[in-house]
């Protein structure tokens, strides 16, 4: 009988790697939430362009949460799933550029 290992972990990875990765995605989602709130606050100046930029920010935030959820619940076999990881990073870079445009908009 191969059975469970006798180390009392019930056959789970004793390093808790999946759990740590899940929590890392949670932390990233929370950090993203703070950034999204600040960006929306800066974007909403009462005109259409501001509303559109705020909408784009919310979209990037939502997409990141969805990707993080997918990665965290263990369905990491699909190809689309692994492609979503670089999308999250590029979305963050895009959000940074969007925020730059918001700051410059205030200057002019």
């Amino acid at each position: 009988m191969s059975g469970l290992p006798a180390d009392g972990t019930g056959g789970r990875d004793p390093g808790l790697q999946p759990e740590r990765t899940r929590l890392a995605w949670r932390r990233t989602g929370l950090a993203y939430t703070v950034v999204a709130v600040l960006a929306v606050r800066l974007a909403l100046t009462g005109d259409v362009a501001g509303a559109l930029l705020a909408g784009a920010t919310v979209l990037a935030w939502w997409a990141t949460l969805v990707v993080g959820w997918g990665r965290a619940t263990g369905r990491r076999q699909s190809r689309l799933d692994a492609r979503a990881v670089p999308l999250v990073a590029l979305g963050t870079a895009g959000l940074a550029l969007l925020c730059v445009s918001l700051v410059l908009r205030g200057v002019w």
Binding site: D13, G15, Q17, P18, R20, T21, A24, W25, R27, T28, A31, Y32, V34, V35, L38, A39, R41, L42, R71, R79, A82, R83, V85, P86, V88, A89, L90, T92, A93, G94, L95, A96, L97, C99, V100, L102, V103, L104, G106, V107
Partner: protein, 140 residues
């Protein structure tokens, strides 16, 4: 313009590497999943570093009072925002290069980026110390 062509080629290769992990499946062997997860967590930690810089830029733009130098506040905000975006892009590049190295059993990619970022942050903090001290002296 052979130089420009080469740069475009390098960038294109990098983007393909980011987005096509299935391409990687053809090289090397599937690594221990724990290594992949550790690599992903490192990527996420860098992403949060980038998000923190972006949050700092957004906070500077919204909560700093107008500074004596014209547009200095906006310059600080834009610098932090661009730095945060750079950190995010570099994070995904390093993630994919590390994943490839793990698959091929090569050495992990070395990087000067952490040292450069640390220096930039240190210089920025030093400038802030000087600014705070200068204001304290001129107020007196």
């Amino acid at each position: 313009m052979p130089a420009a062509k080469r740069i475009i080629g390098v960038v294109w290769q990098a983007i393909r590497r980011w987005f096509d992990p299935s391409d990687l499946d053809s090289v090397g062997s599937t690594p221990d999943y724990r290594f992949s997860l550790a690599n992903e967590r490192t990527f996420l930690a860098w992403l949060r570093t980038g998000l923190a810089l972006i949050a700092g830029g957004l906070a500077a733009a919204q909560f700093l009072p107008p500074l004596p130098l014209r547009h200095l506040r906006e310059a600080i905000a834009v610098t932090l925002l661009l730095l945060g975006g750079t950190v995010a892009v570099r994070a995904v590049d390093h993630w994919s290069r590390t994943e490839q190295a793990i698959r091929l059993g090569r050495r992990l990619p070395a990087s000067r980026f952490p040292a450069v970022l640390a220096l930039i942050v240190a210089v920025g903090a030093l400038l802030l110390v000087v600014a705070v001290l200068a204001r304290g002296v001129s107020d007196r």
